[in-house]
C-alpha cells in the first residue's frame, strides 16, 4: 500500500520518481519470477534400488519436497498385512506398509503407478483403505489419465499436486529421470556380474552404495552421467578373482518381487555371496524405456503366439536367451497369486525341457523365511556346481 502510494506521489510531482537505474530487465524478471515450488511432502513406495530416481522425479519434475523412507522393517510388513485383504498379491501389502509409514512421517502426497494387471487397481483401493483408516492425504494415481497417456498423466499431476509446474522444464527432467533409471539398471547389471568374485569383501558394494548416494544429489542428466562414470571406474578397479567359466544364474519373474530386495529377501546378494554371476534382464529399462513387446515376442514364437501378460513376454524371452547362452540355471521369482507369472510357468517348463536348463521356482509371500530360502538356494547352487564340474571334466 505504502509502495503504491509512494510511486503515485512520485509520478505526481515528477521530481521523486522511483529510479530503475542499475536494475537491469533481467534482475527485474528474476525478482518477479513465480515461485513454482510446492511445499508438499511427496512419498513414493519403496521399490528396489530406484529411490534416487523417485527423488529426482519428485524434486525435478513435480517440483515438491521428497519424503525419503528409511529401510523397511518388520513393522512395515506387519502394517501392510493388517491393512490388506488376505489374498491380494504381496506387493500390495508391502506398499500399504510403505504408505502408512510415509503418512506417519508427514507425507501429504503419495504416488502410485498404474499397470496392466491388478496393479491398475492398486491406487484406488489403497487410497480407499487408507481413508477408511482415517488418514488424510492426496493420492497421485497414474491409473487416472492412462487413456490419454503422457498428456493425461501431465494433467493429473497438475490437478492433484502442482499446478505451477514449468512444463518444458518438467518434460526435460522427466527424460533425465528416465535416463537415471537406465543408468541405475546398467550399474546394477555391472554390479551383479562382478560382486560375486571380489577379492576384497565389500569393495563392490561400497561402489554401488556410493553410486546411490551420488545419484541422490543429482539435478540433471549430465550429473547422472558423471556419477555413473565415477562408479564404473571404481568398479573396474576392484580386483576380481573370476574363474573362466563361472556359474551363471539368470533371475526372471515378476516385476516387483524379482527385483525388490525387500520382497525377495536379498536374492541377488545371496547368490553373489555364493560366487555366482547374476543376470536379470527384467528391469525398468527393459520393461518400459526400451520395451517393444511384439518384437520381443518374435524370438519366442515357437512357444507363444500372444502377449501373455505384463511381464510374461520378457520373462520368457530372458529365459530363452539365458538358456541359449548356456547359463547354468534360472530362478523364477514371483509373489503369491501373480496370475501372469503363474501362466508363464507351463511355458517355462517346455523351455526347460528343450534346453535342459534347471529352473528354481520361488513364490514369495509375507511369511517366506530367510533360512528356508537360503537352504533352497544352496541346494540349487550345489546341484548346478556338480553339473558344471561333470561337464568340465
Amino acid at each position: 500500500m505504502l509502495k503504491k502510494f509512494r510511486i503515485k506521489a512520485g509520478s505526481a510531482d515528477g521530481a521523486d520518481a522511483p529510479s530503475f537505474k542499475g536494475t537491469s530487465a533481467k534482475d527485474l524478471r528474476k525478482r518477479f519470477r513465480k515461485d513454482r515450488h510446492k511445499d508438499k511432502k511427496v512419498a513414493v513406495f519403496r521399490y528396489a534400488y530406484y529411490a534416487p530416481a523417485f527423488k529426482f522425479f519428485v524434486e525435478q519434475v513435480l517440483d515438491c519436497d521428497y519424503l525419503a523412507l528409511p529401510p523397511a522393517t518388520k513393522r512395515t510388513m506387519e502394517l501392510g498385512i493388517q491393512s490388506s485383504t488376505d489374498d491380494v498379491c504381496t506387493p500390495f501389502k508391502h506398499m500399504m506398509g510403505d504408505w502408512i509409514e510415509a503418512l506417519e512421517r508427514g507425507a501429504n502426497v503419495l504416488v502410485q503407478v498404474g499397470g496392466p494387471c491388478r496393479l491398475g487397481f492398486y491406487g484406488e483401493m489403497q487410497e480407499e483403505i487408507l481413508r477408511d483408516m482415517g488418514y488424510d492425504f492426496t493420492m497421485l494415481n497414474f491409473s487416472h489419465g492412462i487413456e490419454q497417456g503422457y498428456v493425461g498423466w501431465a494433467k493429473e499431476v497438475m490437478k492433484m499436486v502442482n499446478p505451477d509446474i514449468n512444463v518444458p522444464h518438467g518434460v526435460k527432467q522427466l527424460l533425465a529421470c528416465g535416463h537415471m533409471m537406465t543408468k541405475l539398471d546398467q550399474a546394477r547389471d555391472l554390479y551383479m556380474t562382478c560382486a560375486g568374485f571380489e577379492t576384497k569383501p565389500g569393495a563392490c558394494k561400497r561402489a554401488w552404495e556410493g553410486l546411490l548416494d551420488a545419484l541422490e544429489g543429482c539435478t540433471s542428466a549430465k550429473e547422472v552421467d558423471a556419477a555413473y562414470s565415477a562408479f564404473a571406474a571404481q568398479m573396474r578397479a576392484v580386483p576380481l578373482d573370476k574363474p573362466a567359466r563361472p556359474i551363471r544364474i539368470g533371475i526372471i519373474g515378476e516385476m516387483y518381487t524379482a527385483i525388490d530386495m525387500e520382497s525377495n529377501l536379498d536374492l541377488d546378494e545371496k547368490l553373489m555371496g555364493m560366487g555366482v554371476e547374476v543376470h536379470r534382464m527384467l528391469n525398468f529399462t527393459n520393461r518400459y524405456t526400451h520395451y517393444n513387446e511384439p518384437n520381443l515376442r518374435r524370438g519366442i514364437s515357437e512357444y507363444v503366439t500372444y502377449d501373455m501378460g505384463p511381464t510374461t513376454t520378457l520373462t520368457l524371452a530372458a529365459a530363452k536367451e539365458y538358456a541359449e547362452r548356456g547359463f547354468d540355471g534360472l530362478i523364477h521369482a514371483k509373489c503369491t497369486g501373480c496370475t501372469p507369472e503363474i501362466d508363464a510357468m507351463p511355458v517355462l517348463r517346455s523351455l526347460s525341457k528343450d534346453f535342459k536348463i534347471p529352473i528354481l521356482y520361488l513364490t514369495y509371500d509375507t511369511e517366506t523365511s530367510d533360512t528356508g530360502l537360503m537352504t533352497r538356494l544352496e541346494a540349487f547352487y550345489d546341484m548346478l556346481a556338480m553339473k558344471k564340474e561333470a561337464q568340465l571334466r
Binding site: 489374498d87 483403505i129 487413456e147 497369486g337 503363474i342 501362466d343 517346455s350
Partner: protein, 347 residues
C-alpha cells in the same frame, strides 16, 4: 503358435470348452462356427473328474476356474480337430480382462504340448470395440479358409444370437426383480404382518462360476432351499451395468467386474442381500470383493470363496445363517430396521 492346425489337416470339428468365458460369449462362438460350416462340440458339464483332470494339468497356484478350464480341454482333445480358445487382451484400460484370458491359448498349447492339441485362436484387443471384434473374427475365418461373404454373414448371425441370449437373460433378471417388488408391496399390506416376501439375493459372481452347476450349484441350491430368490448380477443388462459401474469406480480395469459392480449398484435397493462368490485364488476378486464390501456398507453381504476342496456342508451352514439374519432383519429384529415403514416403534 506351438500347436497351430496345419494345412494338411483342415479343421472340420471345433471344440469349445464349457468353461470361463464360454458362459459369457458361448452363444456367439457356437453360432459363428456353425454358420461357417464347422461341426461344433461343446464339452459337457463340469464334473468331479473334469476338475481333477484339470487340477493335475495345472500349476498348483492357478485359480480354480482355470483348472476347470484345463479339465474341459482335456475332455475335448480327442474328439475334435482343434480347440477354440480366444485371447482377450486389455488394450482398453477400463474394460479389460484378467491376464488369464489373454494367456489361455498359449497356456493350453504348452500344457498339452506332448499330446499336440491343436488350438485355433484370435486376438481380441478390446471387447467393447465392435469393429475390432468383427475384424478379428473375420480374420480367423479367413485362416480357416472360409469365404469372406459367408464369414461376414456368420458373424452377423452370431452377434445377433448372442444379443438375443443376453436380452433374454436381462429380461429374466428384470422380471424377477419386478415380481419380487410386487410381492413385497402386497405382503406389506398384510394387517397381521405375518406375510413376508422371500429374501431376494443378488448373486455377484463371474458368469463362469454362477452358471457352472458343479462350482456354484451347492450355493444356489442352499439359497433356494432356505427360501431365497436369486438374481444373477452377470445377467443384468450389460451395457447399462457397464455404464453405471463408473459411478462405482473410475479405475476398475476388468469388464466382467464392471458389469457385476454396475448391477450391484443398480439393484442395491431392490435386493435384501448380496452373496459374492469367487474362485480361489481369483486375482481381480481379491481387490473387487474388498471394494464392493467397503462401498455397499448398507447391504448385508456374504462372501464365499470356493476351491477344489469345498464340501457342501460348510457352504450350507453359512448360507442358512445368512438367510436367517436377513429374515430377522426383515421382521424388524435389528434396531436399524425400525425405520422400515409399518414396523417402526412396535418393539
Amino acid at each position: 503358435m506351438l500347436n497351430a492346425p496345419d494345412a494338411a489337416h483342415p479343421v472340420r470339428t471345433v471344440g469349445i470348452p464349457r468353461a470361463l468365458l464360454f458362459h459369457k460369449y458361448g452363444t456367439l462362438w457356437r453360432t459363428f462356427f456353425e454358420e461357417v460350416g464347422l461341426t461344433v462340440v461343446v464339452s459337457g458339464d463340469t464334473t468331479r473328474a473334469v476338475v481333477e483332470a484339470g487340477d493335475a494339468l495345472s500349476i498348483d497356484e492357478a485359480c480354480l476356474a482355470s483348472k476347470v478350464f484345463m479339465g474341459h480341454v482335456d475332455a475335448l482333445k480327442d474328439q475334435v480337430d482343434a480347440v477354440f480358445i480366444p485371447s482377450f487382451a486389455s488394450v482398453n484400460h477400463r474394460a479389460g480382462f484378467c491376464t488369464k484370458f489373454q494367456s489361455l491359448p498359449d497356456l493350453v498349447s504348452n500344457t498339452f504340448r506332448a499330446e499336440g492339441v491343436a488350438v485355433i485362436s484370435l486376438d481380441l484387443e478390446d471387447a467393447t470395440d465392435a469393429k475390432k471384434m468383427k475384424a478379428a473374427y473375420l480374420d480367423l475365418a479367413s485362416r480357416l479358409k472360409v469365404p469372406g461373404a459367408q464369414a461376414k454373414k456368420a458373424y452377423k448371425a452370431a452377434v445377433a444370437a448372442q444379443a438375443a441370449e443376453d436380452a433374454k437373460r436381462a429380461k429374466r433378471a428384470a422380471e424377477t426383480v419386478a415380481l419380487m417388488a410386487k410381492y413385497r408391496k402386497v405382503a406389506s399390506t398384510d394387517p397381521h404382518q405375518k406375510e413376508l416376501a422371500p429374501p431376494l439375493i443378488l448373486l455377484v459372481a463371474h458368469p463362469y462360476l454362477a452358471h457352472d452347476r458343479y462350482v456354484c450349484g451347492d450355493i444356489t441350491d442352499a439359497l433356494e432351499a432356505a427360501g431365497a430368490v436369486i438374481v444373477c448380477a452377470d445377467e443384468v443388462d450389460h451395457a447399462k451395468s457397464f455404464k453405471r459401474s463408473f459411478a462405482f469406480s473410475e479405475t476398475l480395469p476388468w469388464l466382467v467386474n464392471r458389469e457385476l459392480a454396475g448391477a450391484a449398484l443398480e439393484l442395491k435397493d431392490a435386493v435384501d442381500g448380496i452373496v459374492m462368490v469367487s474362485a480361489f485364488p481369483c486375482g481381480p476378486d481379491s481387490l473387487f470383493t474388498d471394494a464392493l464390501m467397503r462401498r455397499l456398507k448398507e447391504l448385508p453381504i456374504l462372501n464365499l470363496v470356493i476351491d477344489a476342496q469345498s464340501g457342501s456342508a460348510g457352504v450350507q451352514t453359512r448360507v442358512e445363517s445368512f438367510i436367517d439374519i436377513l429374515r430377522f432383519k426383515q421382521e424388524g429384529g435389528y434396531l436399524d430396521a425400525q425405520e422400515i415403514p409399518h414396523q417402526g416403534g412396535q418393539r
